[in-house]
């Protein structure tokens, strides 16, 4: 199983995501944002955290229009898997691959700490935990306040596409949403960082199961 991690100028979690994929057993390649194609046979694309293009204009807006975006959209349209974390989640909403948008945190402060989460929607990313499981993962963002209109929020909840929810909402996100799935459940965007809590040296391994289960599910598919 093969993974690609996109690197934009200002990405800073690309290596962390690469290591998390690799430790779970995936064959990982990093792809530069100026490339226009993904390597052949990629099963999952990781869109990493960081400050792509300095967060200029809006977080993720310029990255969403980078040359690699066409290949990313084609991959998602073919039913390929995509995992966007933090800035990666912002890029996926800006690219229109996930609904809604991420606004400035309600308290205006950049928040960098571990938060409690409840895993919900069924997907290759979340099934390793099981719905209702409570975990803790680090967040590190200034613009993580999930917004969508009420009809979109109802659709997400009605279709079980809220992947993870905050147990104690840190940033004002609508309905405590921390991560959402696409309609085909193969694209996940989430603000918390599973790749920063994936091995004992991180002091928290709650994120490891996401990568482990993902690899098992993709290998079995």
């Amino acid at each position: 199983m093969r993974a690609a991690v996109i690197v934009y100028p200002g990405s800073n979690c690309d290596r962390d995501m690469e290591v998390a994929f690799a430790r779970a057993g995936l064959d990982v390649t990093r792809v530069w944002h100026k490339d226009t194609t993904l390597p052949a046979g990629i099963d999952i694309v990781g869109v990493p955290g960081g400050f792509s293009f300095g967060d200029y204009l809006r977080c993720g807006a310029i990255a969403a229009n980078a040359p690699i975006s066409g290949a990313l959209r084609d991959h998602a349209a073919r039913g390929g898997y995509v995992l966007g974390v933090c800035n990666g989640f912002q890029v996926l909403t800006e690219a229109g691959l996930l609904p809604g948008a991420l606004l400035r945190n309600a308290g205006l402060k950049y928040i960098c700490r571990t938060v409690g989460l409840r895993v919900e929607g069924a997907s290759v990313y979340t099934d390793g935990y099981g719905a209702g499981t409570e975990i803790a993962l680090p967040i590190a963002h200034h613009d993580g306040n999930y917004f969508a209109d009420p009809a979109t929020l109802d659709t997400l909840e009605g279709e079980g596409r809220v992947a993870v929810r905050y147990t104690d909402n840190p940033n004002g996100s609508a309905r405590d949403i921390a991560g959402i799935l696409s309609e085909n459940r193969r694209v996940l965007g989430m603000m918390p960082h599973p790749e920063r809590a994936a091995e004992p040296a991180h002091g928290n391994t709650d994120g490891a199961r996401l990568f482990a289960h993902l690899t098992t599910a993709l290998t079995a598919a």
């Binding site: 948008a101 606004l103 945190n105 309600a106 205006l108 917004f147 969508a148």
Partner: protein
Amino acid sequence: MKARVHVMLKDGVLDPQGEAVRHALGSLGFEGVNGVRQGKVIELDLADGTTEDQIAAMCEKLLANTVIESYRIETL
């Protein structure tokens, strides 16, 4: 030619920065500031003959996120 694009958060989208500015004005003693909404202004230096439709396409594709923002184009 030049154009100015005004980008604002849509009504109903919480603007915590505007709220912070409103509080700051209140604490400076300016009374009666009932609301503050903060947006951005983008000035474009364009080739002559650029149409308003082309500028609108720039707004839709990049300059504004129409999920949360509205925009207004002013040609100068």
